[in-house]
């Protein structure tokens, strides 16, 4: 039996109602964490404070920052990193990996269908209104064949562990999911700070992401191209994820470009270089749909490339992800995921979905309005945790306001029971102690031609404010290194 009187955990407070990732319900350390627990116990909390500030400085020096958009000002911040890693054992990981691939494939087939025959709607599985009222459905994608039939090359699936100990998917991100660079930087930072602990675990590497991404993107090159030229298209240095764009380009060994670096001639895309124009075949674009081509979408966009969409429609370039994928990661479509998986793959969903109430349905709307204090209210088309309301945290006045908003535009909202995200010991600056904090996990899946890759690690995000359930970095969350074990 492990000694629970560990120095650095002496004042760790366990809330019995929460699912703790490292302590079981009897307060014992779970098997996978035992070695780590005793290794960390060899340090004093003072050592820890020291290492923590070094890790922070390392992030700042590397320029690993992001921007938070607020009403008043925009700030550049480092993404708070926690030195105590999260460990996922091989059996659990197997479920997550298989489940993520299953979801990504089902979403891809769904996208093909809604931009072609729309059989899932004709068969009455998904209602037409969800597609026709979605701002993210692009009519221009109808009948278009993306190279090798892939739409969502890169998916970021957000998973939590509920207090029943089971994994649930909270949402699928298949537009331009970000965060993968943090997975790799977190690993680097932890290795620098506490290299020794890695000797005691057989952990999968996470540094192979970029090479796998490039390999898989190259499998979906445009028809007729022999050796494809790939670039990463960024909105520029003022984008919140610019660090990641530059990191991915650097590690893939490809050029990082802005819209003004590219031009279209006779429906082919070229990059301006000092040696003259260079043809581009695959664009990993981190610019949103509406901004990729001012001639086809938002005419005021200066981030895109005029004529890009025509080049795409003619099959001369691959865009990853394809335009119009946003229709499938809408929070209203999410609720149909179990049916979508069964419909296309004839399989049972491997990962659970959280039960969702659609405010667009009168009976469910009534339930939501009545039980609003027990529910999380989410706008269907906002990303990054913006606009989420947690019922039991609202004042009476806020509840009234929320109800009126929902009643005015019910289609815009869905509601879910308040899920209890699992907690993980996290070092807290203010108290200089380890405390329980809620965590989730973003898993990155890449689809290529008859091949897929899941990054064995993923981004564990931590809600740093006590009791807070929203882990998004834009909402003040932090992150942890995430270990997937080869064996226990």
């Amino acid at each position: 039996m492990t000694n629970i009187e560990n120095k650095i955990f002496s004042s760790y407070q366990k809330d019995a109602t929460l699912y703790d990732e490292i302590f079981d319900s009897e307060g014992q350390i779970k098997e996978v964490y035992q070695k780590l627990f005793s290794l960390y116990g060899e340090h004093s909390i003072k050592d820890y404070v020291n290492l923590n500030s070094k890790a922070k400085a390392s992030f700042f020096n590397q320029g690993i920052t992001f921007q938070v958009y607020g009403d008043k000002e925009t700030k550049e911040k480092i993404f708070p990193f926690d030195l105590f890693p999260r460990i996922i054992d091989p059996t659990e990981w197997d479920i997550i990996e298989k489940g993520s691939i299953q979801r990504s494939k089902a979403l891809n087939l769904f996208l093909w269908d809604v931009y072609h025959d729309k059989n899932i709607i004709k068969d009455g599985i998904v209602p037409m209104e969800l597609i026709s009222s979605s701002d993210n459905y692009l009519d221009q994608m109808q009948g278009l064949e993306p190279p090798e039939g892939i739409y969502n090359h890169i998916s970021g699936i957000d998973i939590i562990k509920h207090n029943d100990g089971k994994y649930y998917v909270l949402e699928d991100n298949i537009r331009c999911p970000s965060g993968v660079s943090y997975v790799i930087c977190n690993r680097t930072a932890l290795k620098r700070a506490l290299f020794g602990v890695f000797n005691h675990y057989q952990t999968y590497s996470v540094t192979n992401y970029a090479e796998n991404l490039l390999d898989l993107l190259e499998t979906v090159k445009p028809h007729g191209v022999d050796v494809p030229n790939t670039v990463v298209l960024t909105p520029g240095m003022y984008n919140s994820a610019f660090y990641e764009h530059s990191y991915l380009a650097k590690t893939m060994g490809v050029e990082l470009v802005e819209g003004r670096d590219l031009f279209v001639e006779n429906d082919f895309v070229y990059m301006k270089t000092i040696k003259g124009p260079e043809k581009v075949d695959i664009i990993y674009r981190r610019v949103d749909d509406q901004f990729i081509d001012p001639l086809e979408f938002n005419p005021d966009s200066v981030l895109g490339v005029p004529g890009l969409f025509a080049a795409y429609k003619k099959g001369n370039i691959t865009l990853a992800n394809a335009p119009g994928t946003g229709v499938a990661d809408d929070k209203a479509i999410y609720t149909y995921m179990p049916e979508i998986i069964k419909y296309y793959l004839k399989e049972e969903p491997i990962l659970n979905n959280v039960h969702t109430y659609h405010c667009s349905r009168p009976d469910e709307l009534e339930y939501v309005l009545k039980h609003i204090h027990e529910l999380v209210i989410k706008p269907v088309d906002e990303a990054g945790g913006y606009g989420i309301l947690i019922g039991n945290k609202l004042s009476d006045k806020e509840i009234e306001l929320a109800k009126n908003q929902i009643k005015a535009t019910p289609r815009k909202y869905v509601a879910q029971p308040i899920m209890s995200l699992s907690v993980h010991p996290t070092y807290i600056d203010d108290s200089e102690e380890f405390e329980q904090r809620h965590v989730d996990l973003r898993v990155f899946t890449v689809l290529g031609k008859n091949k897929e890759f899941v990054l064995k690690g993923g981004l564990t995000r931590v809600a740093l404010q006590k009791g807070n359930l929203i882990v998004n970095s834009s909402q003040g969350g932090g992150s942890k290194d995430t270990w997937v074990l080869k064996s226990i």
């Binding site: 009519d139 001639e265 001639l295």
Partner: protein
Amino acid sequence: MSIEYTINYSTTNTYENIVKSAFWQFLILPESNKNQELVNVKLNNSLNVANEISINGYGFKTVRIHTKKEFTKLLFEATFHVIKNDINPYQFTEDNTEEIKLINNINYLIDFESFLKCTTYTKLPKTDHKLFVFDWSKTIFQNLQNLNNWVYNFIYFKVNKTNIYTTLEEIIINKHGVCQDFTHLFCAIARKNKIATRYTSGYLHQGNGYFGDSQMHAWAEAYIPKIGWVGFDPTNDLLADINHIKVCHGKDYQDCAPLKGVIYATGKNKTSHTVQVLSQQQ
């Protein structure tokens, strides 16, 4: 019978300040379809840059011009030769039970969803004005023909009173407008009655005093079950015929705008177009 047309399109764009770089996309090329054939295209621009033929997001042919030379004036001219066949008289049914069943079928609603939905330009306001009401004892074709006539009488053709930002609400209150306003109102009422309808852009040969020459023209195409797309020109109270030369279609004007540009310059600009449609009967 078929007619050979020569269409001359020209536009002049002048800019207050020097333009450093620009892209234009013209959606003005007649399409080739079962009733018409584009046999010859001549393009010319005053900047001496390439006229690229490409497509827009809906697959219709476009002409694109890109320049990095500084300028303040662009003149663009295009000449098309089109052979247009007379449109065969349609075989319309007398009995509407079957067609009403078809427009309520789930597959029809899903397949034609793009042309059944309400868009910015085809949104009917809540007004006290009495708008056209379908008579379901009649066939869809009869209803659309009556709607065509109703729109024609409802709006007075008047140029320079409306622009591309005018809403249907203003049109309905003020009752004047140009071909795109007539067409949007036709589409809006037809769609409200579950008839898939698309906004169509093109050229009109004005033999005898119809509106629509000297500018590009707009009309509507409605889908009639078992027959297909039939063109209605509410500006002239006509069915689209041998005089209507189609360029493209879309949900509304926005999908069919003849000229789109991305201009890197400050200050004001002026655009003028002229269109000439000449015929030679074969």
